[in-house]
């Protein structure tokens, strides 16, 4: 819905251009759009209010009105302020000089603690550590079974006892980990409501027993206005050091993350972005800011693309894309790559200005892959290489050959054209619609290229 925030700001502020005098009413209109966007993203109302006041002040203070694109300027200010709000604080975990390091996970029911525990154990193991999991969720039926199974998948030992006392379970689990020479212990606790006094007291007791090196609050990215109350209550009782944001692979904008950081001062450290056990990532505040604004996330897109594409095909495809030589062969190749990068809708959201730029492609759904493939394979090699030769009669032939309608062939041809155009613009350093705002850099076109080429070099090493 707010993929078009920058468009809306553009139109709210666009008429300022050339007048030189900042119109208070236009700024108010723009601020209303910002407010709506943040509320729709589930940012807490109090924080929205403070935030909008700050952005308004800056928008009035800077030369927004003189800018050729006042809307873009305001988006940039909003993005910077959001990143600032979320950015301070380390995303690193603390490691104890005297192992084992202990990490306590706490949160509401259903926030994803047990799954996060399994993922964190795997992440730590891949980092060369020797983690262990301790089951202290003795409430939910079969929670221990779940942790045991996750531990087996992650190749990490699980210390679990069918006991009734989580404090004892934690004590014994840490002892066993120490005896076994494990250097990190992840403690999975039962989900509890922050208003449930006896259970919060129990958690405080577990914390006193474990003396954890890190306490992490596990928070569902889809949480609404209540996130702030939840976080405050957990902070008062167990004082967590950071947040694990779960279910970020959905389309929730995750305003809860911003709210929790703003209210508790505790940073988001980790983000869970998929069902698979390896889908836990360190958190990037600037990317989250883009997501909340619906501005896309080019860096994540590039990273996922790098992970999905084999090295040799990558460079060639990149060169062709940037040069605007984006044939149907490339289209098919990249389409298949997109699928390797995760759910298509999620991937499309990462592209800035997606809604407007690629309306044709936006309709393309994963189950249409077979059709897209059929259409492209019904083209001659020449048609695939030089799409402009595809005239009316060729379109009819392609439609007949692939068992599709001519309109579907037309749609695909249009989508490829749009895509090639956008690739070319990216290649020349001009981001469609959004200059540098999505990258957290300066509004010079080169900022885009610099950051992406730096990443590429790093990945090739």
């Amino acid at each position: 819905m707010f993929d078009a925030l920058s468009d809306k700001l553009q139109s709210a502020l666009g008429d300022l251009r050339g007048r030189g005098v900042l119109d208070d009413e236009a700024i108010s209109r723009a601020m209303r759009e910002v407010r709506l966007a943040l509320l729709e993203a589930d940012v807490n109302l109090e924080i929205v209010r403070q935030f909008v006041a700050r952005v308004r002040e800056r928008a009035l203070g800077e030369d927004v009105a003189k800018s050729l694109t006042p809307g873009q300027q305001v988006v940039k200010i909003v993005h910077e302020e959001l990143t600032e709000l979320m950015g301070s604080g380390s995303s690193q975990l603390a490691f104890s000089p005297r192992p084992p390091t202990t990490i306590l996970l706490a949160g509401l029911q259903g926030s994803g603690k047990t799954t996060a525990a399994g993922k964190l154990a795997l992440l730590l193991r891949k980092d060369g550590r020797k983690p262990a999991l301790v089951a202290a969720d003795l409430q939910r039926p079969a929670a221990i079974d779940q942790l045991v199974q996750l531990g087996a998948q992650a190749g990490v030992p699980v210390y679990a006892d069918e006991r009734t006392d989580p404090v004892k379970a934690v004590h014994d689990g840490i002892e066993r980990a120490r005896a076994d020479g494990r250097d990190v212990v992840v403690l999975d606790t039962a989900g509890r409501l922050h208003v449930d006094e006896p259970l919060m007291e129990e958690l405080a007791a577990v914390r006193r027993e474990a003396k954890p090196t890190n306490v992490l609050l596990v928070l569902d990215a889809m949480t609404g206005q209540e996130a702030v109350n939840v976080a405050k209550a957990f902070q008062e009782r167990i004082d967590f050091d950071g947040v694990v944001m779960t279910k970020l692979d959905g389309d929730a904008r995750g305003g809860a993350a911003l709210s929790v950081k703003a209210v508790t001062g505790r940073p988001i450290k980790l983000a869970s972005v998929g069902e698979k056990l390896d889908a836990l990532e360190w958190f990037h505040p600037d990317r989250m800011a883009s997501r909340i604004l619906g501005m896309g996330d080019v860096l994540t897109l590039i990273e996922r693309a790098e992970a999905a594409v084999a090295d040799d095909e990558k460079e060639e495809l990149e060169r062709r894309m940037m040069a605007g030589e984006f044939s149907f062969d490339d289209f098919l190749k990249s389409y298949k790559m997109l699928r390797r990068m995760g759910p298509l809708q999620g991937v499309l959201k990462l592209i800035p200005g997606m809604g407007k730029q690629l309306e044709g492609l936006d309709q393309v759904n994963e189950k249409e892959l077979a059709r897209v493939e059929a259409i492209i394979l019904s083209m001659t090699p020449q048609e695939r290489r030089l799409p402009r030769v595809i005239d009316g009669s060729r379109r009819k032939r392609i439609a007949a050959g692939s068992g599709t309608a001519v309109t579907q062939v037309n749609q695909l041809i249009e989508a490829r054209k749009q895509m090639a155009k956008m690739m070319k613009m990216m290649g020349s350093g001009k981001m469609p619609q959004l200059p540098a705002a999505g990258m957290g850099g300066k509004p010079r076109p080169s900022a885009t290229r610099k950051s992406s080429s730096k990443r590429k070099k790093k990945a090739r090493r």
Partner: protein, 312 residues
């Protein structure tokens, strides 16, 4: 008068429920809603409310937004109240957005209830409670563990089935969930059971392949039994924000949701996202979860909820 199970299940001439059970819900719902730091009323004391004062309207709007009602539904409520010029009608207008009190269709032989939702909303727990209540109301129940993905999901459901006195149909982890649903219906038919409740794996509504899997589960149920599933319940966590609307939209598009079960209302979250789900998508809330106990699943009563939301 809060809605009773007999009313929800469309039981005619059923004996009225004991007063305690009825009174229980309203007071518990109000208790739980009032745990929130800033109850709605605090911000909109009817006495202090001045229809001519912009600030009063702003406070109303903010109270609704803080309850996760979201921008469009809040705007609609404010518009309607402005028309009436009466803040006292808030509960009434909220209730109206929910429409008529719904029923849960279990009068078939057997009736199939498909339960869907994103991860961690409390599907399995809700099924356990529903199975238990249906048993108490004289329905024999089969629960089907078609969540073949999450580790230990099956064990969790089996424990609930035992507590509820329901039959349990399971399978191997990684098995085809549609096949589990099929087996469960067949078992219910063979044993003459009244209701089949199918538990499915939590899935994010954006995961196209997993949503396709769900479509297949539904299709297999439809083919196995005419008119089934009679109910497709979407389980929504009351702490969910505006993403809940998108969840409801996409699940509804995929498998045709007939009602919402709003869970975890015993926290301080008000579950206001149920309002835009009903208002924008026309999906009724049928059940609310207000606690951890087996009998803490209750029929949803629009006016009751609206009053608790507004006057807690």
């Amino acid at each position: 008068m809060p809605r009773s199970w007999a009313e929800l299940l469309g039981e005619e001439g059923a004996a009225p429920e004991p007063e305690t059970e009825r009174a229980g819900l309203f007071s518990r719902l109000r208790d739980s809603l009032s745990k929130s730091r800033r109850a709605l009323t605090e911000q909109l004391q009817a006495a202090a409310f001045d229809p001519g004062d912009d600030l009063s309207w702003e406070r109303l709007e903010e109270a609704l937004l803080q309850a996760d009602v979201g921008v469009p539904a809040t705007a609609e409520l404010v518009r309607r109240l402005e028309e009436r010029g009466d803040i006292g009608a808030l509960a009434d207008e909220v209730a109206q957005l929910f429409g008529e009190p719904p029923t849960l269709d279990v009068r078939h032989d057997p009736a199939v209830i498909l339960v869907v939702g994103v991860n961690g909303t409390g599907k399995t727990t809700t099924i356990g409670k529903l199975a238990s209540t249906l048993s108490r109301h004289g329905r024999s129940v089969v629960v089907a563990a078609a969540d073949t993905f999450r580790a230990a999901a099956e064990e969790q459901l089996e424990i609930w089935a035992q507590r509820a006195g329901a039959d349990f149909v399971g399978s191997e982890r990684g098995a085809d969930p549609a096949a589990v649903a099929y087996d469960a219906i067949e078992a219910a038919q063979a044993r003459g059971r009244d209701v089949v409740i199918v538990d499915t794996a939590g899935r994010l509504h954006t995961q196209t392949n997993l949503m396709e899997e769900l479509v297949k589960v539904r299709r297999v149920i439809e083919r196995k039994l005419d008119g089934a599933p009679q109910e497709t319940l979407l389980v929504v966590d009351a702490t969910t924000g505006q993403n809940g609307v998108q969840q409801a939209r996409l699940f509804n598009e995929a498998v045709g949701v007939t009602g919402v079960a709003l869970t975890k209302l015993d926290g301080s979250a008000k579950g206001g996202v149920a309002i835009p789900i009903a208002y924008e998508l026309g999906l009724p809330v049928k059940l609310v979860g207000v606690g951890e106990r087996l009998d803490d699943l209750r029929p949803f009563d629009p006016l009751d909820y609206a009053r608790a939301l507004v006057s807690s």
